[in-house]
Symmetry: C2
Amino acid sequence: MRALILGGGGMVGQKLARHIAAHGLAGQKVDLTLHDIAFPSDTVPGAAQLEGSIADAGVPEALAKTKPDVIFHLASIVSGEAEADFAKGWAVNMHPTWALLEGLRAEHEADTSYRPRMVFTSSIAVFGGPYPDKISDEFLSAPQTSYGAQKSICEAMISDFSRKGFIDGISIRLPTICVRPGKPNAAASSFFSGIIREPLNGQEAILPVADTTRHWHASPRSAIGFLTHAATLDTERLQGRRALNLPGVSCTVAEQIEALRDLAGNDVVKLIKPQPDPVIEKIVEGWPRNFAPERALELGFKAESSFKEIIQVYLDDDLKRGT
Amino acid sequence: MRALILGGGGMVGQKLARHIAAHGLAGQKVDLTLHDIAFPSDTVPGAAQLEGSIADAGVPEALAKTKPDVIFHLASIVSGEAEADFAKGWAVNMHPTWALLEGLRAEHEADTSYRPRMVFTSSIAVFGGPYPDKISDEFLSAPQTSYGAQKSICEAMISDFSRKGFIDGISIRLPTICVRPGKPNAAASSFFSGIIREPLNGQEAILPVADTTRHWHASPRSAIGFLTHAATLDTERLQGRRALNLPGVSCTVAEQIEALRDLAGNDVVKLIKPQPDPVIEKIVEGWPRNFAPERALELGFKAESSFKEIIQVYLDDDLKRGT
C-alpha cells in the first residue's frame, strides 16, 4: 500500500508518519511519501520526502499522478495566519485541494479502478456561534474565520467528489490538538498547549484569555488514532455524510490548570502568566466549546476522557523526548 | 443606484429586472444591467444587456470593475445539468463566484468605501437527508448533489468575504420556484411546475415521481420579493449568519393536484400522466420537504401560505400573458 502525507513535515504529519512506519495501516506494510514546505532535522527515517509548496502551480496535480492508495491531507496554514493574510489563506487552504481533487479525478477517469482514500483534517473552526450547550452531529457550519470557511469548503468538495466515486474521502473535524510538543505556532489556539508545555519545561507561558474559556481538546496520540482509523474505516458506514465531529475533552482553562497542578504541582502552575490579548480572545470566543459526537463514537473514533489524561500523554510521548 | 443581475436572462432574472425597472429598490431609481448567455426576445426594456458566459476567463473580474452597488447573483446551471456534466457544474456554479468575489475585493481595496451588496440565490439543495420533520435554521448542509455542494461553497465564500468587509453579502436558499412560466428546463424539479402549467395550457404533463412526494415551494412573485428584500435588508440583523432558509409552502404532489382541481377542475387534472423516472425520483428523494424558517420570517421575508395561492399567482401573473 502507498500512502502520501500532505503536510508531512508538521507535528501531526511527523507523528503519523512515525506511527505508520512502525505499524503499517490495517496490518499492511506501507510505502510512505511525505510532502511539505520543510521538514524537521529529526524527520522520520524510511519515508520518501518531497519538499515544495502545495500552493505552487502544478504541484497538487503532480502529486495526484503518483496515484497513492491513501492520501492524508493535513497541509494548511493555521487559523491565525489565514486570518491575518486573507489571500494566502485561500491560496493554501482551498485552491490546492481543488487542484488535487481534479488531479485525482483525472487519474480515476484514466483508470476507474483507482479511487484513493483521502483523509482530510478539517477542524471545529467550521462552526460559529451562537452554540447550543453541546454541538450535535447535525449542527450547521457557520464559520467565523477564513480558516474555518476554507476547511468547510474543502469538506464539501471532498464529499461531492466522493459521492461521484472519483475518490473515497472523509473529513475529520479535529478538536484542538493539545498538548502540542515543540515551539508555539501562529494558530490562535497555540496557547492551549503553551500553558501546559512551557511550565512543564520550566518556562513561563502567557495565558491570553480568561480562565473561564471552555474549549474542546484531544491529544496528538488521539489525532494519530483518528487519522489511521479514518484511513481504514468502511466509508459506506458514513451514509453520505463524510464530515465528522470527533470525540474530545471539553474543559475550561481553569480545569486545564487544575489538571496541571495535580500532575506537576503548584510551582509549575505559577509559571502561567495571564495577559489578555483581545485579538486572540475574539477568535477563540467564536470557537465551539463542547460536542456530542455520537456518529464518530459509533464509528469507533476514540479520544481521552479527561484533561489530566491529555497531559499524561504529553508526559509519556513527548516530554521525555525533550520536545 | 446601479444594480447588476447575473443570470438576468433567466425567468427569475427577467421578472426581477421588470420589477426593479418599474419600482426601483427601496424607493430609489435603479440603473440596471443584465448579464447572461442569452436573453428572451421580449426582454425587459430600459435595462442594459451584456451577453456572455460568466464562466469565461476574465468575465467576472470585468463585471466587478463596473462597481455595481447591488449585485444579484442568479447565474447558475440547474441541478440536473450539474449532475450530468460534473466539470461544467463546477466551472459555472463555483469558480466564477470566486473570481467575482476576488474582483470585488480588488475594487474594495482600491476604494474602501466600495462595499457592494451581493444577493446570492442559493437553494434548499444545500441540504441532504436524513431530515427532521421540519428543517430548522441550525440544520447542517450536507448536499447530495453537485449543484447543492456548489451552492453551499459559494455561500461560505460570500459569508467570509462579507465578514472581512470586502462585500456585504447574503445568500438566500430559495424554495423550488413554482409555477415557473414557459418551457420545462433541465432542473430535476422542473416537473413540479410542469404538472400545473401544462394542464392549465391544455397540454399533457408527465409526473415522474409518486404523488406522496412532499416538497417546498414558493411562487416566482415570492422569489422577487425575497430578492428585493435581501437587497435592502440591514445585514447587521443577520449577526454573521449570512445564509438563510426562506419561507415557503410544504405540500405533497397529491396536494398540488388537489389545489389544481379546486381552481381548474377535473378535466385539467386528467392531463397529468404518472410515469415514474428513477433518475429524477432519486434526486428528488434527497431533497428537503419542510422547513421552520424562523430567522427569515423574523427578518420580514414572506411567501404564500397555500399551494392554491401559488397557482393563483401563476394565473394572475403569467397565464394571462400566455406564458
